[in-house]
């Protein structure tokens, strides 16, 4: 536990000093503000486009924006933020292994398990803090300009998307236990997502896959209930735990 706490402190200091923490903060704030802002600007956008649309035969009658537009933007934009997070954390483990900065600490008896746990925890902490910050900003403005009660289950739908992020970050931990570079790690994580998407094409398997959690639209409109997503959420959580735990024995055998 002592090693875990010490190393987590080191990871956070590293993120602060190399400016990544600030970058994440800015990115997630921007993503949070963007959702209600785009919703707010939609009528104006349609207005400016009205002339060109009219010439191609499309006429737009008055468009009323609701909180739903803002939340739809949230679920459209957050996967992008997730991608940025995954790419930025892709080399968190491998760059440290390659530089040899761990050697003096391991030579002092630090356990490799603590390193894996602390790095995984840091990724999850930053992702969670950033994600829920975006969520909070979107929630606040959506409620301020419109009314969040017009949208169903937005909190659960957000939880689902957050959970996919958790799983992908745990996949980084897993692939980092044997990969040599950030590129290899990202390739592995990408492959995991691709396989899930392909499997999702099979009708019966679809609702058991983590990717099922991305389908937020039926939840927001109230067509689906959170209970429909229960199995997929459990499987995602279990997969995350297995990926992170499997990294520990593999990292212990890794040549450094």
């Amino acid at each position: 536990m002592r090693h875990f706490i010490t190393f987590t402190g080191k990871e956070l200091l590293e993120m602060k000093r190399n400016g990544r923490l600030m970058l994440f903060l800015i990115i997630f704030c921007l993503f949070g503000i963007m959702n209600p802002a785009i919703a707010k600007l939609t009528p104006w956008l349609y207005e400016t486009l009205a002339d060109s649309l009219a010439s191609s035969g499309i006429t737009i009658t008055e468009y009323t924006v609701t909180a739903m537009d803002s939340w739809v933007q949230f679920f459209k934009n957050m996967p992008m933020a997730m991608l940025v997070t995954v790419v930025m954390f892709g080399g968190l483990f491998t760059s440290e292994y390659a530089k040899g900065t761990l050697i003096p600490l391991l030579a002092k008896g630090m356990s490799r398990g603590a390193v894996v746990a602390a790095k995984t925890f840091t990724m999850l902490l930053v992702w969670s803090a950033g994600y829920w910050l975006s969520f909070g900003i979107t929630w606040f403005y959506s409620d301020y300009y419109w009314d969040n009660s017009a949208v169903s289950h937005y909190a659960f739908a957000s939880f689902g998307l957050w959970l996919i992020g958790v799983m992908l970050l745990c996949a980084i931990t897993f692939f980092s236990s044997f990969a040599d570079s950030a590129a290899q790690v990202l390739l592995g994580v990408g492959a995991v997502y691709a396989v899930m998407t392909l499997l999702g094409m099979i009708g019966t398997v679809r609702e058991y896959l983590p990717t099922f959690l991305v389908q937020s639209a039926p939840l927001l409109t109230g067509e689906a209930a959170p209970s429909d997503y229960f199995t997929a959420a459990c499987i995602t959580a279990a997969a995350s735990a297995v990926l992170a735990a499997a990294a520990v024995p593999v990292t212990a055998r890794r040549r450094l």
Binding site: R2, H3, T6, F7, K10, L13, E14, R17, N18, K99, G100, T101, I103, P104, L105, L106, A107, K108, G109, M110, S111, R112, A252, R253, R255, L256
Partner: protein, 299 residues
């Protein structure tokens, strides 16, 4: 009790056999020089001691406890300075020392006191900059300080002086010598004068095995093949002496007689006097480590 015992250590990388049956012991309070050519397997041996490499065979014990690959348990007795130490460049020396202290399980007060002591010892106490701006010598000095923070019983230094300028080298050697008063030091090098300067014991690693090891003075005595070297004023006279003393040889205008006893030296002098051969230099040469090393590696 020995702080380090290595018995029958072997390791290969693919088809390349790096170590075969390395056996050595480092007693307490001793500065032990581990000498070998580049690529002889010094770093492989050291990484095996701290459990970073899995040996193919043999056993390593530190302070009586067996070293297991991947586990850091025996490392609590060890301070390790890698050949090219890499630190977190965004930290200051003080922050890094504090990180190391906490990893080693020391409390805050202890860490602060030890950091002050050690940064003073290595001459970095006034350094406020972050490590990324450090020179190689400064990194090496910080490397020794971090290795010593938890008062290890065995300090392992992997070629601490090989990349440094003469001033930096002297500083590091002085620090290691100082450290050797409180702890055993196992340090690898290919610079023999460094070994002569600070080590009590030495082991030569050649062909993946220990070719020669022991107390430096004892080795000198055992292998004490004192040579006599005579440099005559006229180089041609060297051949004249060689005619008389057939076991000697002519080398670059000098006459050299290996394994010369005191009596041989006396006979030589009488011969020079008798023949009126003018001499620039008459020297009885104690063998240095370099000669022994060359002899061991057969160069």
């Amino acid at each position: 009790m020995n702080v380090l015992d290595i018995a029958g250590l072997s390791k290969s990388f693919g088809s390349r056999q790096v170590l075969t049956d390395v056996t050595l012991s480092v007693p307490e309070n001793c500065v032990f020089g581990f000498v070998g050519r580049n690529g002889a397997g010094k770093t492989t041996t050291m990484k095996s001691i701290i459990g970073l490499l899995r040996p193919d065979g043999g056993e390593i014990s530190v302070c009586g406890e067996r070293v297991n690959y991947g586990s850091g348990r025996t490392n609590r007795f060890i301070g390790y300075l890698p050949d090219v130490p890499e630190f977190y460049g965004y930290m200051t020396a003080r922050e890094y020392m504090s990180l190391c202290g906490r990893v080693a399980g020391m409390n805050t007060g202890e860490v602060r006191q030890r950091t002050d002591e050690l940064l003073g010892l290595v001459g970095l106490s006034d350094e406020k900059h972050r490590i990324k701006g450090y020179s190689r010598g400064m990194k090496q000095r910080l490397g020794i300080a971090q290795a010593l923070i938890s008062r290890p019983r065995l300090l392992i230094c992997d070629e601490p002086t090989s990349a440094l300028d003469p001033v930096g080298r002297k500083e590091i050697l002085d620090i290691i010598k100082d450290a050797g008063r409180q702890t055993s030091v196992f340090f690898s090098t290919h610079i023999l004068t460094d070994v002569e300067r600070i080590c009590d014991r030495v082991a030569f690693l050649e062909g993946g095995t220990i070719a020669l090891s022991g107390d430096i003075e004892e080795i000198r005595r055992k292998r004490g093949n004192t040579a006599v070297e005579i440099q005559p004023e006229h180089p041609s006279d060297a051949a004249v002496i060689a005619e008389q003393f057939a076991s000697g040889e002519v080398r670059e205008g000098c006459f050299v007689l290996k394994n010369a006893s005191a009596q041989d030296a006396e006979l030589l002098m009488q011969f020079l006097l008798g023949r009126h051969i003018p001499v620039i230099r008459f020297e009885r040469k104690e063998p240095d480590l370099e000669d022994m090393f060359m002899e061991v590696i057969g160069a």
